[in-house]
Symmetry: C2
DNA sequence: GCTGAAACTCATTACGT
DNA sequence: ACGTAATGAGTTTCAGC
Protein backbone atom coordinates (compact mmCIF):
# COMPACT_ATOMS: atom_id res chain seq x y z
CA UNK A 1 0.00 0.00 0.00
CA UNK A 2 2.18 2.85 0.99
CA UNK A 3 5.42 2.02 2.75
CA UNK A 4 5.54 4.14 5.84
CA UNK A 5 9.12 4.77 6.79
CA UNK A 6 10.46 5.27 10.26
CA UNK A 7 10.16 9.05 9.99
CA UNK A 8 6.43 8.71 9.32
CA UNK A 9 6.03 6.64 12.45
CA UNK A 10 7.93 9.14 14.57
CA UNK A 11 5.79 11.89 13.09
CA UNK A 12 2.57 10.09 13.99
CA UNK A 13 3.80 9.50 17.52
CA UNK A 14 4.50 13.23 17.90
CA UNK A 15 1.11 14.21 16.53
CA UNK A 16 -0.61 11.66 18.75
CA UNK A 17 0.59 13.50 21.84
CA UNK A 18 -0.95 16.73 20.61
CA UNK A 19 -2.71 16.95 17.28
CA UNK A 20 -2.56 20.75 17.36
CA UNK A 21 1.24 20.76 17.15
CA UNK A 22 2.27 22.81 14.13
CA UNK A 23 4.15 21.32 11.19
CA UNK A 24 7.08 23.63 11.88
CA UNK A 25 7.59 22.10 15.31
CA UNK A 26 7.17 18.58 13.95
CA UNK A 27 9.79 19.35 11.33
CA UNK A 28 12.23 20.67 13.90
CA UNK A 29 11.97 17.50 15.97
CA UNK A 30 12.38 15.28 12.92
CA UNK A 31 15.19 17.27 11.34
CA UNK A 32 13.01 18.33 8.43
CA UNK A 33 11.92 21.66 7.01
CA UNK A 34 8.39 22.82 7.76
CA UNK A 35 7.00 22.11 4.26
CA UNK A 36 8.62 18.66 4.23
CA UNK A 37 6.90 17.74 7.48
CA UNK A 38 3.65 19.19 6.18
CA UNK A 39 3.87 17.16 2.96
CA UNK A 40 4.31 13.98 4.99
CA UNK A 41 1.22 14.84 7.02
CA UNK A 42 -0.76 15.47 3.85
CA UNK A 43 0.41 12.17 2.42
CA UNK A 44 -0.62 10.29 5.56
CA UNK A 45 -4.05 11.86 5.24
CA UNK A 46 -4.25 10.92 1.55
CA UNK A 47 -3.51 7.25 2.15
CA UNK A 48 -6.16 7.19 4.86
CA UNK A 49 -3.88 6.61 7.83
CA UNK A 50 -4.89 9.94 9.32
CA UNK A 51 -8.65 10.27 9.34
CA UNK A 52 -8.89 13.59 11.13
CA UNK A 53 -8.51 15.42 14.40
CA UNK A 54 -10.99 14.96 17.20
CA UNK A 55 -11.65 16.86 20.37
CA UNK A 56 -10.53 15.35 23.63
CA UNK A 57 -13.42 16.37 25.88
CA UNK A 58 -13.62 15.94 29.63
CA UNK A 59 -17.12 14.55 30.12
CA UNK A 60 -16.97 15.04 33.89
CA UNK A 61 -16.11 18.73 33.51
CA UNK A 62 -19.14 19.04 31.24
CA UNK A 63 -21.48 17.62 33.83
CA UNK A 64 -21.42 13.98 32.77
CA UNK A 65 -19.81 12.31 35.74
CA UNK A 66 -20.71 8.73 34.90
CA UNK A 67 -19.37 6.65 32.02
CA UNK A 68 -20.58 3.06 31.61
CA UNK A 69 -19.57 0.38 29.15
CA UNK A 70 -22.37 -1.91 28.16
CA UNK A 71 -21.90 -5.33 26.63
CA UNK A 72 -25.05 -6.15 24.69
CA UNK A 73 -26.19 -9.47 23.33
CA UNK A 74 -29.02 -9.49 20.83
CA UNK A 75 -32.03 -11.68 21.50
CA UNK A 76 -31.87 -15.02 19.74
CA UNK A 77 -35.55 -15.03 19.03
CA UNK A 78 -37.24 -12.67 16.63
CA UNK A 79 -33.95 -12.04 14.85
CA UNK A 80 -34.35 -8.30 14.53
CA UNK A 81 -31.70 -7.32 12.07
CA UNK A 82 -28.55 -5.49 12.96
CA UNK A 83 -29.47 -2.37 11.02
CA UNK A 84 -32.60 -1.84 13.11
CA UNK A 85 -30.62 -2.14 16.30
CA UNK A 86 -27.83 0.14 15.11
CA UNK A 87 -30.22 2.80 13.89
CA UNK A 88 -32.09 2.82 17.19
CA UNK A 89 -28.98 2.86 19.36
CA UNK A 90 -27.41 5.64 17.31
CA UNK A 91 -30.39 7.82 18.11
CA UNK A 92 -29.75 7.71 21.86
CA UNK A 93 -28.04 10.93 22.80
CA UNK A 94 -26.16 9.46 25.75
CA UNK A 95 -24.43 6.82 23.59
CA UNK A 96 -20.96 7.98 22.54
CA UNK A 97 -19.64 4.87 20.78
CA UNK A 98 -21.19 1.82 19.15
CA UNK A 99 -18.87 -1.10 18.52
CA UNK A 100 -19.99 -4.16 16.63
CA UNK A 101 -17.97 -7.04 18.03
CA UNK A 102 -17.52 -10.78 17.79
CA UNK A 103 -17.39 -12.82 20.97
CA UNK A 104 -19.42 -13.06 24.11
CA UNK A 105 -21.34 -9.92 23.10
CA UNK A 106 -22.71 -8.58 19.87
CA UNK A 107 -22.30 -4.88 20.63
CA UNK A 108 -20.38 -2.77 23.05
CA UNK A 109 -21.67 0.69 23.91
CA UNK A 110 -20.02 3.60 25.65
CA UNK A 111 -22.69 5.54 27.50
CA UNK A 112 -22.37 8.73 29.56
CA UNK A 113 -24.84 10.17 32.05
CA UNK A 114 -24.93 13.01 34.57
CA UNK A 115 -24.98 10.64 37.55
CA UNK A 116 -26.09 7.14 38.43
CA UNK A 117 -29.73 8.15 38.75
CA UNK A 118 -29.56 9.64 35.27
CA UNK A 119 -27.86 6.49 34.02
CA UNK A 120 -30.62 4.32 35.42
CA UNK A 121 -33.14 6.41 33.53
CA UNK A 122 -31.20 5.97 30.27
CA UNK A 123 -30.78 2.26 30.85
CA UNK A 124 -34.44 1.60 31.62
CA UNK A 125 -36.08 3.92 29.13
CA UNK A 126 -33.64 3.93 26.23
CA UNK A 127 -31.34 0.93 26.31
CA UNK A 128 -33.61 -1.87 27.57
CA UNK A 129 -36.28 -0.88 25.08
CA UNK A 130 -34.03 -1.23 22.05
CA UNK A 131 -35.38 -3.54 19.33
CA UNK A 132 -33.90 -7.02 19.57
CA UNK A 133 -31.94 -6.41 22.72
CA UNK A 134 -30.98 -9.41 24.87
CA UNK A 135 -28.75 -9.76 27.93
CA UNK A 136 -26.85 -6.64 28.97
CA UNK A 137 -23.74 -6.44 31.11
CA UNK A 138 -22.34 -3.20 32.57
CA UNK A 139 -18.99 -1.88 33.74
CA UNK A 140 -18.62 1.54 35.29
CA UNK A 141 -15.54 3.52 34.31
CA UNK A 142 -13.29 4.50 37.21
CA UNK A 143 -10.27 5.80 35.30
CA UNK A 144 -8.86 5.60 31.83
CA UNK A 145 -5.39 5.84 30.35
CA UNK A 146 -4.56 6.19 26.69
CA UNK A 147 -1.21 4.88 25.54
CA UNK A 148 0.75 5.70 22.40
CA UNK A 149 0.12 2.26 20.95
CA UNK A 150 2.31 0.27 18.59
CA UNK A 151 2.45 2.80 15.77
CA UNK B 1 -18.03 24.86 37.51
CA UNK B 2 -18.88 27.43 35.07
CA UNK B 3 -22.27 27.52 33.48
CA UNK B 4 -21.96 26.46 29.88
CA UNK B 5 -24.67 28.10 27.86
CA UNK B 6 -26.35 26.71 24.82
CA UNK B 7 -23.92 28.44 22.48
CA UNK B 8 -21.01 26.66 24.16
CA UNK B 9 -22.68 23.34 23.58
CA UNK B 10 -23.34 24.10 19.93
CA UNK B 11 -19.72 25.17 19.60
CA UNK B 12 -18.46 21.91 21.09
CA UNK B 13 -20.67 19.92 18.79
CA UNK B 14 -19.24 21.75 15.78
CA UNK B 15 -15.67 21.23 16.91
CA UNK B 16 -16.32 17.58 17.64
CA UNK B 17 -17.02 16.94 13.98
CA UNK B 18 -13.67 18.41 12.99
CA UNK B 19 -11.32 19.82 15.57
CA UNK B 20 -9.31 21.61 12.87
CA UNK B 21 -12.25 23.84 11.93
CA UNK B 22 -11.15 27.48 12.18
CA UNK B 23 -12.67 29.83 14.73
CA UNK B 24 -13.87 32.09 11.93
CA UNK B 25 -16.07 29.33 10.54
CA UNK B 26 -17.33 28.41 14.02
CA UNK B 27 -18.22 32.03 14.57
CA UNK B 28 -20.12 32.28 11.32
CA UNK B 29 -22.26 29.25 12.20
CA UNK B 30 -22.96 30.57 15.69
CA UNK B 31 -23.61 34.15 14.68
CA UNK B 32 -20.51 35.40 16.48
CA UNK B 33 -17.44 37.29 15.42
CA UNK B 34 -14.28 35.30 14.98
CA UNK B 35 -12.56 36.61 18.13
CA UNK B 36 -15.74 36.00 20.14
CA UNK B 37 -15.82 32.37 19.04
CA UNK B 38 -12.11 32.07 19.76
CA UNK B 39 -12.53 33.42 23.29
CA UNK B 40 -15.22 30.86 24.00
CA UNK B 41 -12.89 28.09 22.84
CA UNK B 42 -10.12 29.41 25.08
CA UNK B 43 -12.52 29.59 28.01
CA UNK B 44 -13.64 26.01 27.46
CA UNK B 45 -10.00 24.98 27.54
CA UNK B 46 -9.36 26.98 30.71
CA UNK B 47 -12.20 25.36 32.65
CA UNK B 48 -10.90 21.94 31.60
CA UNK B 49 -13.80 20.93 29.38
CA UNK B 50 -11.51 20.81 26.37
CA UNK B 51 -8.43 18.78 27.16
CA UNK B 52 -6.83 18.89 23.74
CA UNK B 53 -6.99 17.56 20.22
CA UNK B 54 -6.25 13.96 19.40
CA UNK B 55 -5.47 12.23 16.14
CA UNK B 56 -8.05 9.95 14.65
CA UNK B 57 -5.84 7.20 13.22
CA UNK B 58 -6.92 4.31 11.03
CA UNK B 59 -5.13 1.35 12.59
CA UNK B 60 -6.01 -0.91 9.66
CA UNK B 61 -4.46 1.50 7.17
CA UNK B 62 -1.31 1.43 9.29
CA UNK B 63 -1.04 -2.32 9.14
CA UNK B 64 -2.90 -3.20 12.33
CA UNK B 65 -5.93 -5.02 11.00
CA UNK B 66 -7.08 -6.58 14.25
CA UNK B 67 -8.52 -4.75 17.26
CA UNK B 68 -9.59 -6.76 20.31
CA UNK B 69 -11.26 -5.66 23.51
CA UNK B 70 -10.19 -7.65 26.52
CA UNK B 71 -12.12 -7.82 29.76
CA UNK B 72 -9.67 -8.72 32.51
CA UNK B 73 -10.37 -9.93 36.01
CA UNK B 74 -7.51 -9.89 38.49
CA UNK B 75 -6.70 -13.07 40.35
CA UNK B 76 -8.26 -13.25 43.77
CA UNK B 77 -5.23 -14.95 45.20
CA UNK B 78 -1.86 -13.31 45.61
CA UNK B 79 -3.53 -9.90 45.59
CA UNK B 80 -0.97 -8.24 43.36
CA UNK B 81 -1.76 -4.55 43.68
CA UNK B 82 -3.35 -2.51 40.97
CA UNK B 83 -0.28 -0.36 40.44
CA UNK B 84 1.83 -3.38 39.51
CA UNK B 85 -0.74 -4.52 37.00
CA UNK B 86 -1.20 -1.08 35.50
CA UNK B 87 2.52 -0.48 35.16
CA UNK B 88 3.04 -3.80 33.42
CA UNK B 89 0.08 -3.43 31.08
CA UNK B 90 1.08 0.10 30.14
CA UNK B 91 4.42 -1.22 28.94
CA UNK B 92 2.83 -3.44 26.30
CA UNK B 93 3.14 -1.64 22.99
CA UNK B 94 0.04 -3.20 21.47
CA UNK B 95 -2.23 -1.90 24.25
CA UNK B 96 -3.91 1.37 23.23
CA UNK B 97 -6.25 1.96 26.17
CA UNK B 98 -6.40 0.82 29.78
CA UNK B 99 -9.69 1.32 31.54
CA UNK B 100 -10.12 0.61 35.22
CA UNK B 101 -13.74 -0.42 35.68
CA UNK B 102 -16.22 -1.65 38.25
CA UNK B 103 -18.39 -4.63 37.43
CA UNK B 104 -17.84 -8.06 36.03
CA UNK B 105 -14.27 -7.12 35.10
CA UNK B 106 -11.55 -5.13 36.79
CA UNK B 107 -9.89 -3.78 33.63
CA UNK B 108 -10.79 -3.39 30.04
CA UNK B 109 -8.03 -3.20 27.45
CA UNK B 110 -8.07 -2.14 23.84
CA UNK B 111 -5.39 -4.10 22.00
CA UNK B 112 -4.34 -3.90 18.35
CA UNK B 113 -2.32 -6.41 16.35
CA UNK B 114 -1.28 -6.91 12.73
CA UNK B 115 -3.44 -10.01 12.33
CA UNK B 116 -4.89 -12.81 14.41
CA UNK B 117 -1.60 -14.72 14.51
CA UNK B 118 0.09 -11.60 15.81
CA UNK B 119 -2.70 -11.15 18.33
CA UNK B 120 -2.25 -14.67 19.62
CA UNK B 121 1.41 -13.94 20.20
CA UNK B 122 0.58 -10.77 22.16
CA UNK B 123 -2.07 -12.57 24.17
CA UNK B 124 0.12 -15.52 25.12
CA UNK B 125 3.40 -13.78 25.68
CA UNK B 126 2.35 -10.35 26.97
CA UNK B 127 -1.18 -10.39 28.32
CA UNK B 128 -1.43 -13.80 29.97
CA UNK B 129 1.88 -13.26 31.75
CA UNK B 130 0.80 -10.02 33.43
CA UNK B 131 1.21 -9.99 37.22
CA UNK B 132 -2.00 -10.81 39.03
CA UNK B 133 -4.02 -11.55 35.91
CA UNK B 134 -7.10 -13.74 36.23
CA UNK B 135 -9.86 -14.68 33.79
CA UNK B 136 -9.76 -12.90 30.42
CA UNK B 137 -12.60 -12.44 27.97
CA UNK B 138 -12.18 -11.21 24.41
CA UNK B 139 -14.30 -9.44 21.79
CA UNK B 140 -13.00 -8.79 18.29
CA UNK B 141 -13.91 -5.43 16.77
CA UNK B 142 -15.86 -5.66 13.53
CA UNK B 143 -16.85 -2.03 13.09
CA UNK B 144 -17.10 1.08 15.18
CA UNK B 145 -19.18 4.22 15.06
CA UNK B 146 -18.59 7.36 17.08
CA UNK B 147 -21.59 9.53 17.83
CA UNK B 148 -21.74 13.17 18.87
CA UNK B 149 -22.86 12.27 22.37
CA UNK B 150 -25.08 14.26 24.70
CA UNK B 151 -22.94 17.39 24.86
C1' DG C 1 -18.91 41.11 25.81
C1' DC C 2 -18.58 42.59 21.13
C1' DT C 3 -16.16 44.69 16.96
C1' DG C 4 -12.40 45.89 13.87
C1' DA C 5 -7.82 46.02 12.86
C1' DA C 6 -2.90 44.99 13.66
C1' DA C 7 0.75 41.58 14.38
C1' DC C 8 2.08 37.24 14.31
C1' DT C 9 2.02 32.21 13.22
C1' DC C 10 0.89 28.57 10.47
C1' DA C 11 -0.58 26.25 6.21
C1' DT C 12 -0.08 25.94 1.43
C1' DT C 13 1.89 26.71 -3.11
C1' DA C 14 5.74 27.58 -6.32
C1' DC C 15 10.09 26.65 -7.84
C1' DG C 16 14.60 24.79 -7.91
C1' DT C 17 17.90 20.84 -6.25
C1' DA D 1 11.93 13.57 -1.46
C1' DC D 2 13.89 17.82 0.34
C1' DG D 3 14.83 23.06 0.87
C1' DT D 4 14.02 28.12 0.34
C1' DA D 5 11.04 31.66 -0.52
C1' DA D 6 6.69 33.67 -1.12
C1' DT D 7 1.64 33.81 -0.44
C1' DG D 8 -2.63 33.38 1.79
C1' DA D 9 -5.35 31.96 5.70
C1' DG D 10 -5.92 31.51 10.64
C1' DT D 11 -4.73 32.78 15.30
C1' DT D 12 -3.90 35.87 18.97
C1' DT D 13 -3.56 40.40 20.97
C1' DC D 14 -5.04 45.08 21.53
C1' DA D 15 -7.64 49.43 21.45
C1' DG D 16 -12.23 51.27 21.49
C1' DC D 17 -17.28 50.83 21.91
Amino acid sequence: MSALDDTDRRLLRLLQEDAARPASEIGRELGLSQPAAWRRIRRLREIGALKGRRLDLDAAALGFGVTVFLGVKLARTGRANLEDFERAVSAIREVQTVEHVLGLYDYRLRVVARDLADFERVLRRRIMTLPGIGPVEANVLLSEERLPGPI
